[in-house]
Subunit: 919 residues, 2 copies
């Protein structure tokens, strides 16, 4: 009684619509029905609905998947049987062919299509409808028996693989590939393309035998059995273990289900009135507003990709341009490589209509796949075209000007990271074609560079003085290498990740860097590197692509890139739409000037320790570290003071009228000490102590986990004189520049605060020193004292800290290290596996982890604002230049981000996008 | 108009009472008025109120401090003038002396007394009322001119120092001490006590000149001026910069203010009917219920401390015991060292009444300071007496039995940490007296140990085999040293803190350890250590006190300690009152058995990697690590499996009927690798590879920050075969023991989880392996899979993790490291300064940081319970054995704590106390 009264949530077969057809310029579905039709199904319906001639088909809805998996195959079958049969009948009508008719066969594809793309599920079965009889009919109809039998071979293989479950875990155990390899060996053939009709027939026969033996069931000759089993296999695959694990990891509900797309197949290889090709509504390389494309007569899509035949241009204009570039005469072009416009003018005309229609519909540059089957044009797919960074910028600004899109859309059209391509040198494409990739590392800092190998930073200096271009190759870099890094063309390291010392410094300098090329073995003694069989020595040429991580042996010419007008306009537009300000991380006057050119609105992070490596500062710094007592440290600090002051004057000058945040000494002191005996002896001589004493001090300062050791404000607390002298340098520099008429806003930042008491103690020293400086100068100036929030404990107790700190700057590098417990220098041992196994979606040092680290940031923002409502909040970790992270920082309510100068344009655009997206 | 209508919050002088008198067995205040009278004032009032003859006095309330500092000296003075004058008159009446009367002078002390003790404030001025005239009167009255002039000297010095502001920042710059030193030089004297009356007179004169020159004001001869200035100085000192900084650091509101205590001074050195002494209501060493004490006739309190004269016993019984122990004849005793009972029978009788009264009033053993001035007994102070751990336990259980206190009070009376003294060996006191402390390190693991020095763990093994007692001395220990550590009597390290490897392992073994003795230089090559001028070589005897951190040259006899009956009763009582269960961290069957003896209710943490060092496992482990591929690792793991299984069988056997939590491999693999060439060569031979290959592998596994590197579940994720084999070992061991009739509850714990996906992946491997094991055995058993919460990100996302994990165990060591960004191996560089400067109150690795780390724990508890309401929650870091942290864990709602076996009794008591305290 009870049961029969409840309204069942699973629809019965009578009323419900389970199949949505499309084709012939019409569709029952549309783009908004993604939940019901899956992504692929909704897209096919939309293309058909706007009048494109897509090959006809129908989509079995995701609801059927749920029905099938809950109620079983019989209920599922009953629910859709009529609609599917009706759907196939419609295909037959539109295509003028018949499913299973050897004389005029309709071939069909079946594809899964969930709401979100989901690996592990059954994907695709092509050429359904073929059997021993139909294949002969297809052979006769196309006059191409090899094509017919290869299509059949593929059907049996895919069907056996995904429908009948003969998928092997490892590629080398795939039973079908084992058969193909065996036949190739028997026939003495190396390339699949050399298999002839007889070979293919033998392979098909062996495939069928394999299936029967392994599964106890024969490959079905009946096309309808093929179709139904393929549909059911898609539903089954929704619940296989790989798909389940993926759903669990990605929190996709099992109830979503998957749709099934059934579509007629079309062929561009049915004779000379058939063709296949691809076209673009604008130029994907330059952005130029010019329709163009490539095609091949009597060919399949894969022939275009395979590159055996030279593709022809779609437009006559494009064809003539191509001929000119490749030195082909007009006569030869017209006879051997005519354009589609020439050989199929009607088809071309139709295509022109669609390309205009498509660009106007999608309001973006389209990449269109088409096939001409016996004179009839089919549009297989259209999508927003991939393009270079330069094209991205130009197309967006052109379309804005053409009134096709509004400002916000134009800004959203450009992927911020792709702006990199406009800011850094690139390899000359012709030269690149001849170059050999010897290894691939991490794309740590974009751009292209070529130079002669040096293994020591000092050598880079020597070679630079001699006017030579060098690439500095190190296992890893340290602050000692800074000068050499600055003088080299590029940096290659074998250890360390995207946020290693080398990577961060290189990005700051706008210098090309490939890091973590683990396969490269560096032998410092022999001054050589080896990777596989290749050995390169000091002085040999090597080239790096910091945007891709590729490393080449030899010299490759590069061409410089610079800001262009379209980009300038785009960024000016971006600033108008952004709420977040963008500052730069800069440690020198030159950096700061570069940052200003790129549009930085202040310095968010000046690392005083980076200045330590300029000139002779490092000697005084080492003297300070090696001192045994306060007096010794003060003596050394007195030497450092005027040098720091001078550096800071340069920063203030470049940032006239803008704020400059200066961080007090942060890294472990060990990083500044000499690690080579020569340098150690030099220090011993300067200090008048024995080499052994210097070595002992170096040893005593080494730490098990320096990242969690004696650094940041812990230095200023144990050695208060460091804080005092640095404060003095900052405020004297500021006052000196103020006297020269420069408007300065110094912000003194205490690093690595974890407790409010640490800040209170450091602030007391800073304020006391400031008063002393102001007394010396007889003049005051406003300044702020704030802190980094980079230790989890600081985020957790941000309210207590904000009671004293006048600003926060989130140091998300360290915050990520400590929140995850990931040392950024050591993640190379496991991060690749994490990414591969999808345990993590992105390197958390590149893109901020919103659920964990982000939670701390939000918490700290809330607590900080509660105590000090108008507290300025910034972010100055590497994430400050990452567009995804910038979106988060915008949502978290920060005031500004700070990044390396060369990422400022990227951040400006990302800040605008964040504001637009989150309105 | 407006102003006059508002009711002012600062009271006017008319109605308000500002001064509270005490003395003569009466008091206007009492113990509950701490906010008004300060801690000291409230206590003096209470003692007087219960009838003790405390020297009379009065307290000026904290409200006056606020009034003074807000309205100024005139208002303050006017407010209390009458009451203070009245108060002094009362003192004169009670004491029978007069303030400023040279013939019969009343001397007065002024002391500050805030609600909380606060460094940086003016503290004490004694002997107020003396001047050039009165000092002569005092001299005549006491017949002791030296005493009179020394009292005067002290007054001028203290007054000049704290009232007139001549305090020097550094001790060596103290102008008064400089004068004293000068006089000593002039007079050729070394000891202050050799200064005679003339010297003291000269010093007083120079002090007065100094004050006049430096301050422009003379030292006031008028006693009333002295008194008023001293009172005002206390109020002024509330706002000095040191006190302000302290308040800021400790969040003490400025409005609290401080009280001022003005009290008559009494003297025990006014002739043979005067005396001074100290008495205890019970024995502080053993807890025996016997009144006793010591005194000196015609002496001041400091004479008792100085130890120049032999103090006499208070009771006759005590005196006779003392004579027997020290071989003094009864005749000599009675003549030279008679008891107070004998020499001042009336005073003794009165004292007896007070001691009984005091113990009954405070219901605890009392430590009473008394002075007899010319036949009149004054009680200066009474407080709960300090006592040994053994006395603590005995007194608490005795008083419970005597009906003086209830069970909860008895449990709260014992400081859990002091139980240590009952569990570990102690030095024989007589032998200790002759020993020389050469250095002091950290008290890393309690107990006393003596042995011959070895510098290498292997040598400890060799010596142990020869029956020799050794102390292992290392810069730091590593897992390689485990076997040797177990065989040594004690461990001394020069690096590392309270939670270094050596410290943790030693505590787990219940073995004495002193860590971080930084002044000791170890020379492994020469096999010697040096500290200052002392050099000790291999084979020399050395002794360690792990409870104090003291290190002695030479051999010192130790006596064993064991559980006693009173402690047993206390702990049984504790279990009845506790809610938190106590488990043990144990890695071997022996550890587990010990833990059970100490009352552990299961194993909360078994570290599988510790088993790696037993027998030949380490070779197989190294083989696994050095393997190049999965196959190689599996081969080595197959050797490890039976060894781990056997170890685990021992654990399960010891914990019959109780849960055993086993953690999968956690530390960085690098820790297991051979670091010495000999061991490296051995591995090379076993693996059949070159030494160089082994060395390269060792190098490639080294990490910049191993604590944040490739460890924990990151190992199981990159090498899933490790997880699988460890799971197999655990469940096979459990099934084997189950077949033997042992009831097992295995809990498999995945370490270092930071994301739920990590756990999902590891759990899948564990479940799959479990099914395979159950299939092999044809038998199942229940088991749980859970995780450590030790990465901040895990705490932040505990809800996501709890959806999969069946239990949480907080690993607060790592959680503290990452939340603070403190490497526990490296904090030695800055923690001492942090503690000294009060930037941190306690080592966060010893006592959990409730505001930061605790917030993460609470957050994770809340989130975990929301998703899985009955999730078992434990804590297995070092904090699991720390009473303060246990109190927090109780409040945070955990189910159990787990600590090293020897701390289980401490934790059981602490758990009971936590429950009682937080009821």
């Amino acid at each position: 009684m009870q049961e029969s009264q409840t309204t069942t949530s699973i629809p019965t077969t009578t009323a419900k619509k389970y199949v949505y057809t499309f084709g012939d310029g019409q569709a029952e579905g549309h783009a908004q029905l993604k939940n019901l039709l899956g992504g692929k199904g909704a897209n096919l319906a939309e293309m058909s609905r706007i009048g494109l001639p897509v090959p006809p088909g129908f989509t079995v809805t995701t609801e059927v998947c749920t029905l099938y998996n809950q109620k079983g195959v019989e209920v599922g079958f009953a629910a859709i049987r009529e609609e599917v049969e009706q759907g196939v009948a419609t295909l037959e009508t539109i295509m003028g062919t018949r499913f299973g008719d050897p004389g005029n066969p309709l071939l069909i594809s079946v594809r899964s299509g969930a709401r979100a793309s989901m690996p592990g599920m059954m994907d695709t079965v092509l050429n359904l409808g073929l059997n021993d009889e139909v294949v002969e009919g297809l052979s006769r109809k196309t006059g191409d028996p090899r094509f017919a039998w290869d299509s059949y071979r593929r059907l049996v293989q895919m069907y056996g693989d995904v429908v009948m479950g003969l998928k092997a875990e490892k590629e080398e155990e795939d039973p079908f590939e084992i058969i193909i390899d065996a036949v190739k060996v028997e026939r003495g053939i190396k390339d699949d393309r050399d298999l002839d009709v007889a070979d293919l027939q033998m392979i098909v026969a062996r495939f069928r035998t394999l299936i029967l033996e392994k599964t106890g069931q024969a490959f079905p000759d009946d096309p309808w059995t093929q179709l139904w089993q393929a549909i059911f296999a898609v539903f089954e695959s929704w619940n296989n273990s790989r798909a389940e694990l993926y759903r669990k990891l990605n929190q996709i509900p099992a109830e979503w289900g998957t749709a099934v797309n059934v579509q007629a197949m079309v062929y561009g290889n049915l004779g000379n009135n058939s063709a296949t090709g691809v076209a673009f509504t604008r130029n994907a390389a330059t952005g130029e507003d010019l329709f163009h494309g490539e095609f091949l007569v009597n060919a399949q899509g894969e022939d275009v990709v395979a590159g055996i035949r030279t593709p022809q241009e779609v437009t006559l204009e494009g064809s003539r341009r191509w001929a000119k570039l490749t030195n082909v005469s007009e006569a030869e072009r017209a006879s051997k490589y005519p354009s589609l416009e020439e050989v199929m003018p009607a088809v071309f005309k139709e295509l022109l209509i669609y390309e205009t229609h498509l660009e106007n519909h999608y309001r973006d540059m389209q990449d269109i796949e088409f096939t001409v089957q016996e004179g009839k044009l089919w549009i297989l797919q259209t999508r927003n075209g991939k393009r270079t960074g330069a094209a991205m910028v130009k197309i967006a600004m052109d379309m804005l000007q053409q009134g096709m899109i509004d400002e916000e859309t134009a800004l959203l059209r450009v992927e911020p990271n792709r702006i990199n391509e406009l800011l850094h040198p690139v390899f000359n494409p012709a030269a690149l074609a001849r170059a050999q990739v010897i290894v691939r590392g991490l794309p740590a800092s974009p751009g292209a560079a070529s130079g002669q190998i040096v293994f020591f930073a000092d050598d880079a200096e020597v070679q630079a003085a001699a006017g030579k271009a060098t690439i500095l190759v190190r296992q890893e870099t340290s602050p000692e290498d800074l000068r050499g890094m600055n003088l080299a063309q590029g940096i290659l390291t074998t250890k360390g990740g995207m946020t290693s010392h080398a990577a961060i410094v290189a990005r700051g300098m706008g210098k090309c860097c490939v890091s973590g090329a683990g396969e490269v073995l560096v032998d410092y003694k022999k001054r050589s590197l080896s990777v596989g069989d290749v050995t390169l020595r000091e002085g040999d040429w090597i080239s790096l692509n910091g945007s891709t991580g590729e490393v080449y042996a030899g010299k490759i010419e590069t061409s410089e890139a610079g800001l262009n007008e379209a980009l300038d306009n785009l960024l000016t537009l971006a600033d108008r739409h952004a709420r977040l300000l963008v500052r730069a991380n800069a440690d020198t006057g030159e950096d700061a000037q570069a940052a200003r050119v790129f549009g930085a609105q202040g310095i968010g992070l000046a690392r005083t320790e980076h200045m330590f490596f300029h000139g002779d500062q490092i000697l005084a710094v080492r003297e300070m570290i090696l001192a045994d007592d306060t007096a010794g440290r003060v003596k050394a600090l007195d030497k450092i003071l005027p040098m720091q002051r001078k550096e800071l004057e340069g920063l203030f000058a470049a940032m006239h009228d803008l704020p400059v945040t200066i961080r007090l000494l942060d890294p472990p002191l060990h990083e500044f000490l000499p690690h080579e005996v020569g340098n150690q002896q030099e220090m011993a001589d300067i200090l008048g102590v024995s080499l052994q004493e210097v070595q002992q001090k170096v040893m005593s300062l080494s730490e098990a986990n320096p990242m969690l050791g004696h650094r940041g404000c812990r230095l200023g607390i144990t050695f208060p004189e460091i804080t005092a002298v640095q404060t003095r340098a900052i405020l004297e520099a500021a006052l000196n520049q103020k006297r020269r008429g420069i408007v300065v806003f110094p912000e003194i930042m205490v690093p690595l605060i974890g407790r409010s008491r640490e800040f209170i103690q450091q602030e007391a020293i800073i304020r006391k020193t400031a008063e002393a400086v102001f007394a010396d100068y007889g003049e005051r100036l406003p300044y702020h004292v704030g802190t980094m929030i980079e230790v989890p404990r600081a985020a957790l107790t941000a309210d207590l800290i904000a009671a004293h700190a006048e600003f926060f700057s989130f140091g998300t590098n360290d915050l990520t290290q400590m929140t995850f417990g990931f040392s950024r220098d050591d993640i190379g041992h496991f991060l690749p596996v994490y990414l591969k196994e999808k345990i993590i979606d992105a390197d958390p040092f590149t893109t901020i982890d919103e659920n964990g680290v982000g939670r701390l940031v939000r918490d700290a923002v809330k607590k900080g604002r509660r105590v000090r409502p108008d507290i300025p909040l910034g972010a100055c970790g590497e994430h400050g230049g990452d567009p995804v992270s910038i979106d988060f920082f915008h949502r978290a309510g920060l005031s500004y981000v700070s990044c390396s100068p060369f990422r400022v344009p990227i951040a400006r655009l990302a800040a605008a996008q964040a504001n637009i997206r989150n309105k």
